[in-house]
Every structure is written in C-alpha cells, then in structure tokens.
C-alpha cells in the first residue's frame, strides 16, 4: 500500500488553487458529507478510522471529538493548531503551503461533525507567507460556496478565518493556543476544565493539528474502515514525517505506518541513507521532545525486532529503550555530532520557550541549560550529570502543561544512553571543545540512576 492519502496530488501543477484541487477530486468529501451524512456519522467514521492526533500526543481523534460538551444555545468552536514549532517538524507548513484546500476541506468536515459554525486556523506568526496562501484559498472557498451561509444548500453555515501567533512554541499547547487566540499571553490553562467544556471564550472547543484535520478528508471519502486498512495495529493510516539531519534526502514524506525505520532511513524512496557515507549515531524520531535513541536502538528494538514507523513500535521498550512517534519530526545524527551539544541546544530551546507560569519549568529549564552549557564547554563536573538527572526528574510530570516533560525527556534520554559521552566531556575538558566523542559503543541497557 504505497498509496498516499494526503499528498497524492501534491505534484499536480496549481494544486494550491481551488480549481485544480477540485478537478483532482477536491471537496468531494464535503459534498458527500453534507448530502448523505449526519454530523454523528462523520464522528463515527473518524472513530472507525482509528485516527490519532498527529500533533504529537497521538490521542484518538474520534474520542476527543466525542468529549465536546453541547449545552443548549452555546456556540462551539473548532480550531486548527497550525502553530507547528516542535524542532524537527515542518510537515504542516509543507501541507498548508502546497495543498491548502485539503486543510480547508478537513476544517469544513470537522466543523460540520462537531456542530461548529465559526472555526479558526491559528498559525504561527513566522509562517506569515503561508497565512497569505491560506487566506487566498479561503477566499476561493467562499467564492465557490464551500464556506459561508447555507453551504451548497445543506443548511450548514460555516465561517472560517486564519489568525496568527507571534513567536511562541508554547502556543502549540491547546489551551495556550486558545489564550493566544483570545489576544492574551500564551499561558497554558490549568485543567480542568478542559477545552471540550470551556475553551475559546469559555465555549466548548476542539483543537486539532493540521495533519489530523487533513486526514478527515480521506476518511470521509473512503470510509473509516478503508482508512484503517492503512497502517499497522493501532497506528492506522498514513503519517507525514519531517526528515532532517545528516541524511541524503531531507524533506516531508507521507509514509504508510508500519514500514521499518531502516527502510525509512536507508531507502531511496525516503531519506536515501546517511550523508557522506557516515555512520548513524543517534536518532530523534518524533521531534525534539521525544527521547533520543542511540544507533543500536534505532532500527531494532531492545528485543531485537525490527523497529517500525508506528506509535507502538517507536515507543516499544518505554523510555528505557524506546522513544515516541510524537509529531513525526525525524532527526538523524551521524557519528560527527555531539550529543552534549545537541542536548544543550534543545535545552536552550525549552528555556527560551517556557512561558514562565509554573515554577519547575520556569526555573528548571534555565538551570538545565546552564549546566549543559558548562559541560559542553569543558567546565563541567562529574556531579553535574547527576544534577541534571535530578533537575529533569523534578520538572517531569510536575508542571502545568507538557512543555515541562518535553524539556525533561531529551535530557533524561541523553544521559540514559550517552552517559559516557557526558563523562568524557568532564574528563577531557580541553579536547571536548575541539573534538567530538564519536560513536557510542553498543552496550546492554542499564538504567541510570533508577
């Protein structure tokens, strides 16, 4: 099943325009839904499809939809999270830029399913040129009767607008996104209440990722069961993977979930192997937040089985020997890369992006960055490694939103799998500034500081 479900027509010239998109079968799902399906039918198909959130958490979309409260007389809102900011992830930008009508069609279907008449796409401020592409596409959709009052005579009204962020990773967290959309600082809210009950302007709200929403189009077109034929196990369908790092062919790939990681890295269909014939050192398979895997756990699980590109297989072994599919931000590191430097770099990112509301994240992210900086520049002490472990442990799980976890996990995983490299930085304070440690030797997993 090499068929693409989202990017099937990506190569067609002019696919970003309404007319070409329509010619390729675009808006057929909306026609079908408005003519022959009730909102609940769509929710049912999405449930059957097994679709899981593509933004990182992997929560079943159908279930998320079914949580939305429906109090009498209160408008509900459907929001698209296009705040793509997870380092290593650039698939949503690609999709919106190349085939904006797919997202709009998904927005119409999802809004219809949830009974929302006013929906928004919240896009990160740095993607301003993509916002303009989307606005053009939305204007086309209005002009062709896919948006507005009484869409295609169905009696369903939908207004859709794009609105923008202004530089804050935290706004990818759904309640921070809602705050930001209300014109406030992107501070995540304390839950409960959840957005499904009290979201935008206090009204029931569902927030989904760009790719998740786009996937509703093939689900409605072909049925949830047909969609679930793609993929493997509970990882149904296709997934957009953003591939970057030391590979021959970085870019966005739509994969059928279940292909092996080995195929993804080394086949010419995807990453095309390691650049310059270098050796694989490590891989962050799901965006900067997920645990880094050392080379010997990338293509095989700890049990020696093939590692697959799926939610389950990538997390096989838990955090001890596994990672996560996350947002599909697949970063590949070759033997010349320094894990300490990379971990420091990510820590700096989370420090920069912490909203500052809750104490463990506000103070802990900066502390970790400083300790890692010291280690990377040859001023570290052996105790720093345990100190880092302890700081991340005190952040993880204790914060308002998952940014705390996202800041803690990369540090924990780097120490877990690359402790020797950290120790080398302490033992070789001069050398570590000019030279890299190289490959980590294969070792049996032993929990560090457990």
């Amino acid at each position: 099943m090499d068929r693409k479900l989202l990017l099937e027509h990506i190569g067609v010239e002019g696919i970003h325009t309404h007319d070409v998109y329509r010619k390729q079968g675009g808006y057929k799902a909306v026609e079908k839904a408005l003519k022959s399906m009730s909102p609940d039918d769509i929710v049912e198909e999405v449930k059957k499809s097994g679709l899981r959130g593509r933004g990182g958490a992997g929560f079943p979309t159908g279930m998320k939809w079914s949580f939305i409260a429906k109090p009498e007389g209160v408008p509900r809102h459907f929001l698209c999270n296009a705040d793509e900011s997870e380092p290593g992830t650039f698939k949503d930008r690609y999709l919106m830029e190349k085939i904006p009508h797919l997202l709009i069609e998904g927005m119409i279907l999802s809004s219809y399913a949830l009974g929302c008449n006013q929906s928004y796409i919240y896009i990160r401020g740095e993607y301003m040129y993509v916002l303009q592409i989307l606005e053009k596409a939305i204007a086309e959709a209005y002009a062709n009767g896919w948006l507005g009052k009484n869409i295609k005579g169905s009696g369903f009204d939908l207004d859709l607008a794009v609105t923008t962020g202004a530089g804050a990773y935290i706004c990818g967290e759904e309640t921070a996104l809602i705050e930001s959309l209300e014109g406030k600082r992107g501070n995540p809210r304390i839950k409960p209440p959840f957005p499904a009950v009290k979201g935008l302007w206090g009204r029931p709200t569902v927030v989904n990722n760009v790719e998740t929403i786009a996937a509703v189009v093939p689900i409605v077109n072909e049925g949830g069961d047909a969609y679930a034929q793609f993929g493997i196990g509970r990882s149904t369908g296709t997934k957009l993977i953003s591939a970057s790092g030391n590979i021959n062919k970085p870019g966005v790939y739509e994969i059928n979930m279940g292909i092996t990681v080995e195929e993804f890295i080394y086949s010419d269909t995807y990453c095309g192997g390691m650049k310059n014939g270098k050796k694989l050192k490590a891989c962050v398979p799901g965006g900067s937040s997920v645990p880094i895997l050392p080379h010997y756990l990338v293509c095989k699980t700890a049990a020696g089985e093939d590692r697959l590109m799926s939610y389950e297989s990538l997390s096989d072994g838990g955090f001890a020997t596994g990672s996560m599919l996350g947002s599909g931000g697949f970063i590949v590191y070759d033997e010349d890369q320094c894990i300490v430097r990379n971990t420091w770099n990510f820590s700096r990112f989370y420090h920069h992006e912490s909203c500052g509301q809750c104490s463990p994240c506000r103070e802990g992210t900066g502390w970790m960055e400083k300790v890692l900086h010291r280690l990377e520049y040859g001023h570290g002490k052996m105790e720093d490694i345990d100190l880092l472990w302890d700081i991340q442990r005190k952040i993880e799980g204790n914060t308002i939103c998952p940014l705390g976890d996202a800041a803690a996990w990369p540090v924990a995983a780097a120490i877990r799998h690359f402790r020797e490299e950290f120790e080398w930085h302490v033992n070789e304070p001069k050398l570590c500034v000019t030279k890299n440690y190289g490959l980590v030797t294969e070792k049996k997993f032993e929990p560090v500081n457990a």
Binding site: P192, S354, C355, G356, C358, S359, R362, G364, G397, I400
Partner: protein, 322 residues
C-alpha cells in the same frame, strides 16, 4: 452517595471528610485542618483565576474515586483539582509528594535573593516557612541569580521584583478590585516580571491590597519599610468608620505607635475583607482606630513568639526596637 446526602467523601492522609461536590482537594484539606493541608503559594481563594502555578500544593491521588478507583498517573495540584466521591489523597504521607515539593522549593529558591535578614516580609513570609519545612540548607545552584532593580509603583508601594515568585496574585487582585489594571506580567519564562512597562504609579484606592496578597517580600508597604521586624510589633484587631471599605483591619503597634496597617488574614494567610489605601497608609494614629484586642496569628510562629497576646513586661528587650 445517597440521594439525600449529595456530599462527596474524600480521605486525605487517612483522615476522612465529607464535602460538597466541586470542592477542591485543597479546600477539603482545609476543612480537616492541621498537617494534611498542603501549602499554597499562588492559590488565593478569593481571587478568581488564582492557583495552579507554583506547584507547591501537589498531592498524590492514590484512588481516583469510588467509581473509578485507579490512581491518577501524575501528582495533581490540590488547589485546582476537584474531589470525586471516594477519592483518596496523600499529602504528607506520600514520599513522592514530599520529593516533588522539595523540588519545587528548590526551584523557587534558585533565583531568590535569600535576603531574609533585610526583608520586611521575614517572619510572615510564606516562602520562608515553606523553605524551612521543605527546603535544604545548601544550594546546588552555582550560577548568577536573576536580579531586577527595585521600583516604586506608587506613592506607597515598593516592588522588589528579585524576590517575586510570579504567583500572579497581585495581578488578579488588580483585575478584581480595580477596573483599570495598570500592572501585569511582562516578558516570559524566567525573564518574566511584574511591572507596569513604563513607570507608572498605581493609583487605585484599593491597590494597597497587593501588598497583603503577596506571599513574599516583593511588594512591601513603603510607610513601614525597614521600620521594624514584624515580630517586634504587636498586631491588634482594630476598626474605624470608613466610607470606602469595611474599616476592619489589623494595626501593628510599636508601643503606642501604629507602625503599619494590614487587612485581616485568616489562618491560611488570606484576606477576607480587603481594605482601602486610606485605612492602610494614612491612618497611622492610634486615635484613628478603635482597638479591639490582640490579633491571634497562628501560622506565623515567629510573630506569636512575641507573646503580644498577654501583657508584656515593661523591660522586654525585644519590643520597640524602631
């Protein structure tokens, strides 16, 4: 839960209590009182929107409810988590909680100036109490601490941002008590600060209450700064006829002098009746007030140690240092 009794049962550190549905774990614990009550640095029951931020009130839910007895996977903030019927909560009896709380205290202190010897809040500081109970005597933080310049935010209020723990209480206070909030949270992450952006005097007649809600020494009363350690003063319940507020306050006496005026705080340090600026800053004569008698303060042991509730012997060396 029987139909005639719509109360929820919750057990905290082995002590059972029945509360109304919708009650948070923290407020249920406060009904029990004593050691089962988690500390709270940002939650303030009368300030809408407060809570959830400082993470000191984290507790373990070892049983979700009677219906769904599964434990909650993570520690939860007791100030914002509503109880379920049959819930079982561990505060002091949970090692995980104690460990996490020690972590939170450490985080709150890494950028704190630890200038208690010259801080007016010392002796009635929530952070001091928290650190005493859950902190360590040494620090593992070896980097330069974050500092800010002290600023006047009005005739009577000093903002010493370096001490701030970003509880947001003063912002919610201004939101709730005034219709023209002039200060707020600026910047983000560990650069976030309380401020007015441009120098501005907070003028609202109730703005002085930000001093009382501040859990640390970030907002202090300029009419009292450096006049005396709080434990050298005698807090007395007092009242006066005020057109603006209830006029019910606590006057802190040094001898026959009114050294400062605050609102009345309950045992959890919360003000129930906010007072106006005139009462707080301008009524500094004993004759302005009808003194009711000593104020019982049982959370701040240092103050109680002053034995102000009984007649002090004339020669007590602790008194009247200012």
């Amino acid at each position: 839960m029987s139909e005639t009794n719509p109360k929820f049962k919750v057990t905290i550190d082995g002590v059972e209590v029945e509360v109304d549905p919708g009650t948070t774990i923290l407020n249920a614990a406060r009904l029990i009182g004593g050691d089962v009550v988690p500390p709270a640095m940002c939650y303030y029951s009368s300030l809408q929107g407060s809570g959830g931020k400082c993470r000191t009130c984290l507790v373990e839910v070892s049983k979700g409810s009677e219906k769904d007895p599964r434990p909650m996977p993570k520690l939860v903030v007791s100030c914002s988590t509503p109880i379920m019927d049959g819930m079982e909560v561990k505060n002091k009896s949970s090692e995980k909680v104690m460990d996490a709380r020690a972590g939170v205290v450490e985080m709150l202190l890494i950028n704190h100036p630890l200038d208690c010897p010259i801080c007016d809040q010392a002796g009635e500081c929530d952070l001091q109490n928290l650190a005493y109970e859950h902190g360590k005597s040494t620090t593992r933080y070896e980097f330069e601490r974050r500092t800010f310049d002290k600023v006047d935010i009005g005739e009577y209020i000093k903002l010493h941002m370096t001490r701030c723990i970003l509880c947001y209480r003063c912002v919610y206070t201004a939101n709730q008590l005034t219709d023209q909030r002039e200060h707020g949270i600026l910047n983000r992450g560990d650069a976030a600060e309380i401020g007015t952006f441009i120098e501005k005097n907070l003028k609202n007649e109730f703005i002085g209450n930000v001093i009382d809600v501040c859990p640390v020494g970030a907002l202090t009363d300029k009419t009292f700064r450096f006049r005396s350690r709080v434990w050298y003063t005698k807090p007395m319940d007092a009242h006066r006829d005020c057109k603006c507020c209830s006029g019910k306050a606590v006057v802190w006496m040094i001898g026959d002098e009114v050294a400062r005026v605050t609102a009345r705080k309950d045992q959890y340090g919360e003000v129930k009746e906010f007072i106006c600026n005139e009462c707080r800053f301008e009524k500094k004569e004993k004759s302005d007030w009808t003194i009711e008698g000593p104020r019982h303060i049982d959370r701040n042991s240092v103050i109680s140690a002053n034995h102000y509730e009984v007649e002090a012997p004339a020669h007590t060396p602790l008194l009247n240092k200012a």
